[in-house]
Structures are given as C-alpha cells and as structure tokens.
Symmetry: C2
Subunit: 308 residues, 2 copies
C-alpha cells in the first residue's frame, strides 16, 4: 500500500490561527525546532495512479496541490486521480474538506451510517455535492465487513477496507442532539489485495479496548492517535479546559497512557498523527520526542511518502 | 483604510484541484506566466492592529498564516487581531472558512438576514460556532444603512460599513429551496471615520445596475467582479457548461461587458478579484491583461497590501 501523509495535526492544525502559545508562536518566529502541519489526512494507492483520501481535512485544497500524485492528469480537464474519500468520523477537521471537492467530479465517499447521517441530514450545504445525478456514490461501511475500494465507475483499485469501531464520540456539533453510537468513530484496516500487506489508520482513539490492541497487531504500518501527550495538557495552559479523555483522545504518557499499549502490541511500524498544537512531541528536540524514538515510534509529518 | 488581499480567485481557486486545463496545468508545470491564487477574501483595518475579514474563504487557514498582520500577538493565547467577518453572500467560497474559526474565539459576523439564514438555519455544523455563549455576535446588515464595525466587546474600530444589494442570486446549494431575494448578494461600501476615505468591495456582480455605477464612482479603491472575461468562457472549454450570466457574474469583455462601465464610472483605483481559473487575465502576458492595463484597471493578487 502506497501512503502519502497529507496532514498530521489535530483540528486547527499547527500553528492554530488564533493561538500564540509557545509552540504556535515559536513556530512562526522560528524559535523552536518544529515543522508546520496541516490537519490529519492520508492518501492511499496501489499503483500511484488512482488514490483514495482517508479523511477530508479543511486544508484539502492546499494538501492536494502539495502532493503531485494527486494532480489531475494533463489533458484531462476533470481527470483527478482521486477516486474517493473514506471518513473515520464526522468531526469537522475530517469532513469539512468534502465541500471543497464540488467541481463536477464524481466521487465515492465511504462512511458508517452514523457519519453519513451527521453530514447529509440537517446540512443544506451538502446539496453542493448533489449538483448532478451520481456526483457522490456513498458506500456504507458496516463495522467488521471488508469491502473493495472502487472508482466511481466501479473499477476495483486493489485495496479493501474494513471499519472497526473504536472508543470515541459524536462530533461536537451534534452534542446533545444524538445518542451515543459506536459507529460515530471508527478505525480503518486497509489491505492490498495482491500482497495482503496492511495499513491501519486510527487518528482518533478515546481509550483502550480489545479492538484497538488487535488493530495495533494487525497492521504492517499503523497510524495512531497522537493528539495529546498528557491528560491535562490543555488545562495546564488554559484553566478550565477539558481533559484529553473528555475530548475522546487517549493521551500517550502516564501509567494508563497509550504508549505502553502501542509498544506491547504493535508488530509493524507505528507513526503518530493528529497531533494537537499543545503536544510537546511537535518539537523535534523535546525530551518526549526522544523518549518516543527510544520506544521505536515515530511522528508522522506532512509530505511523508511510505509503503506499508 | 488598510487593505490586505488574502485571496483573489473565484470558487475553487487557481489552480483548481481537479482541473488540468491549459491554465491550471500550465501553472503547475511552470509553462505559463501566472501566479497561484487562493479564494477571494480581503482583510481591512485602520490601525493595523484590529482587522475585519471580508468573506471567509475555504483557504482561510492558509491565508491567515500567510499574512503576518493576522497572527495572534505573542503572549496572548487567544489574541487574534481578527475581530470579525463581513459576508457578501452565502456562497461556499465566501463562507466555508467560518467553520475553521471555531477555536474559543469570540467573533462578530456581519451579513444580511438572507445570508445569515442560509448558514445558520438548516446546517447543524453551524453549532460548532455555538460552543460557548457569545461566541458569535451577529450584526444584521440592512441594505443602505451604515453601521460601525466593532470588536466583539463593542469597541469601534474606526470603520463603517454599508451593504448595497447588487444583481446576484442565492447560493447554488439553496437553488430550488428559496425565493429570489436581493439580499442574497451585496456589495460593501467601507468608510474610514477619521478620513472619510472609502473602499468598495463587490466580488460578485451579476449585471449592470444603477447601484453598481454609483458604487464604482463612490470608492477611492474598488474591488470588482473579475470572474469571467467572456460570457461563454466555460462552454467553449466544456460544451454544455453554463454562461457567465447564468452564474450571476457579469463578464468583462464584449459590447455589454462590465469593462466599459467600470472605465466610465470608476473615479478611484480599480482592481479585479474573484478570477475564475478559465479567465485569460490570469496570464500576465495575455492580450486581455494588456488591454486591461491600457484601460487603467489592475488585477488583484494574493498578498497585495494597499491603502484606500
């Protein structure tokens, strides 16, 4: 499986538009050793000709232009190599980019029924993706069922996908409106048909669970939720801010942190993604980054090209 | 009035994500003399410390990071110099960026009642801007009434704004759902209180009208709809595509084009913005660009700093 890291930051990116914390301000001024990051998204392919995006971030236009593989072929006016998008949840940092893919291009969108519902129902702006019959072909992901990824005209691209419910929650804009539903947040297990090599993508993991451990062991290449280093990372900076677990993210450090579980269960290569602008791992010279490397885990960065 | 051009392209930007026309492809490959453009937006200020955005494009995160004046002040964790946003219509290329301004920052949004309704009603994702009481302070623009622009805490920033209905239409995602309403598309007349210098911003003008001519004469600095050079610009490339006037944009060239009306009525400096990726004006060496310059009109470009 060919993988392009399009974005590796949590919602808001790094730096964040209205934040002048030591990280965001240090990045702008050059005072820290760190790289700018757009919001979490991957592109996957077998042949490098046809691609699927995993999540559609608000930075999608910039991300597509930054990745030459995703440019339309010369001579083909509407010939984008992007066949479709798979969504892991309906958070705006994973979905808002869909509304930037509206120029006369048929697309497949794969999502669970709960995620589809959050976007399509009760959002009149979704009609921008209904400009012509067949513009969006929805594929409903049933947890645990493996389906082949296809182009809008039905050609199998050589990858299968399976959605697995992992701890999470409904997007913030639905809070108080919908009942908890495990299908609001899934991890993705993607397998290449001809080689059986596998990619696991889980940018949002709210806590430990048997499925999470199974997925860590299943992937040749694993992208894991690196949002927060510690549980109280936000409230240390902004008194009253929510804890990591209240935002459905499992912090890496600490006695019950994800780091130990990753190390104990992951058999392939593990990269962290969806890093929040407060995460000390953003700094290449932080003690936390050194500890991570010693544990054999890396931080994904925008523009990375990988092979699962 | 201090003005920063944040973006100068029509919806989709230049290049467009799925387009490999001679312009988009030529820009990517370096075969043409042209600059990349993000989607149409301006920032305005009197003192350079407090700013208002005119329209909120999908490229907003990139645009804010590209403009040092809009960075939060060091030491102020949530100290964005952006006090608010004024919307000229509810088209997604002018509004989608609002959903990227959701991180614990009070903001003023100024719009007509029809534009506010399009966004707030029937879009559950709008709740992302209702995370805490007072997050968004809406100012309803009544056409023809001049109001002072203020920070969310009520401080007058020294600019007044007046919305004027100009020919246009409802956003495409509302087609068939709402009755035509002149308040779906407005131009903005912005005056500096202490100097009475004025900026006119009209990125979407569907055709000739007395108000348009009056506004052309009223501005010391005028940004005008430069979407299409000719009426059949799209259908020449893509048979069956809509004509300029069907998309509520007044083409520049031709016997009844806007160029002659601009030249006859504008007394200040005029810049074109909201250029579509098909517009020959995008090429710095095109005959059309030369003709424009001979008429005393310029093309706005991303990053431009101006004083009205």
């Amino acid at each position: 499986v060919r993988v392009q890291v399009l974005g590796s930051a949590a919602g808001g990116g790094f730096p964040q538009w209205n934040c002048a914390c030591s990280g965001c301000d240090g990045l702008r001024s050059g005072a820290i050793i760190a790289a700018a990051r757009t919001q979490d998204s991957l592109a996957v392919s077998v042949d490098g000709q046809v691609w699927y995006l995993l999540n559609a971030s608000p930075d999608i236009r910039y991300q597509i232009e930054s990745c030459r593989h995703l440019h339309p072929r010369p001579g083909a006016a509407r010939g984008s190599p992007i066949a479709g998008v798979v969504l892991t949840n309906a958070d705006l940092d994973h979905c808002l980019g869909l509304f930037s893919l509206r120029e006369a291009q048929p697309l497949v969108i794969c999502a669970t029924s709960a995620v589809k519902k959050a976007l399509v129902e009760h959002n009149v702006i979704y009609r921008t993706l209904e400009r012509f019959p067949g513009q969006i072909h929805w594929v409903e992901l049933e947890p645990g069922r493996r389906v082949a990824l296809r182009t809008p005209d039905g050609t199998d691209i050589g990858l299968s996908i399976e959605a697995i419910c992992v701890p999470g929650k409904a997007p913030q804009y639905l809070e108080g409106l919908v009942a908890p539903d495990p299908e609001h947040n899934v991890a993705l297990l993607i397998r290449e048909a001809r080689s059986d090599r596998s990619l696991v993508y889980m940018p949002g993991v709210g806590g430990d669970a048997p499925e999470v451990r199974r997925l860590l062991a299943a992937g040749d290449l694993v992208f894991f939720d690196g949002t927060f280093w510690s549980e109280d990372e936000l409230s240390v900076l902004t008194p009253g801010a929510r804890l990591a677990h209240e935002m459905a993210h499992w912090p890496l450090a600490g006695e019950n942190g994800s780091l130990e579980v990753i190390r104990a269960n992951c058999r392939g290569r593990c990269l962290l993604t969806h890093l929040n602008n407060t995460n000390p791992l953003l700094r290449a010279d932080s003690d936390q980054r050194k500890a991570l490397l010693r544990a054999g885990i890396s931080v994904a960065h925008d523009g990375m090209e990988l092979l699962a």
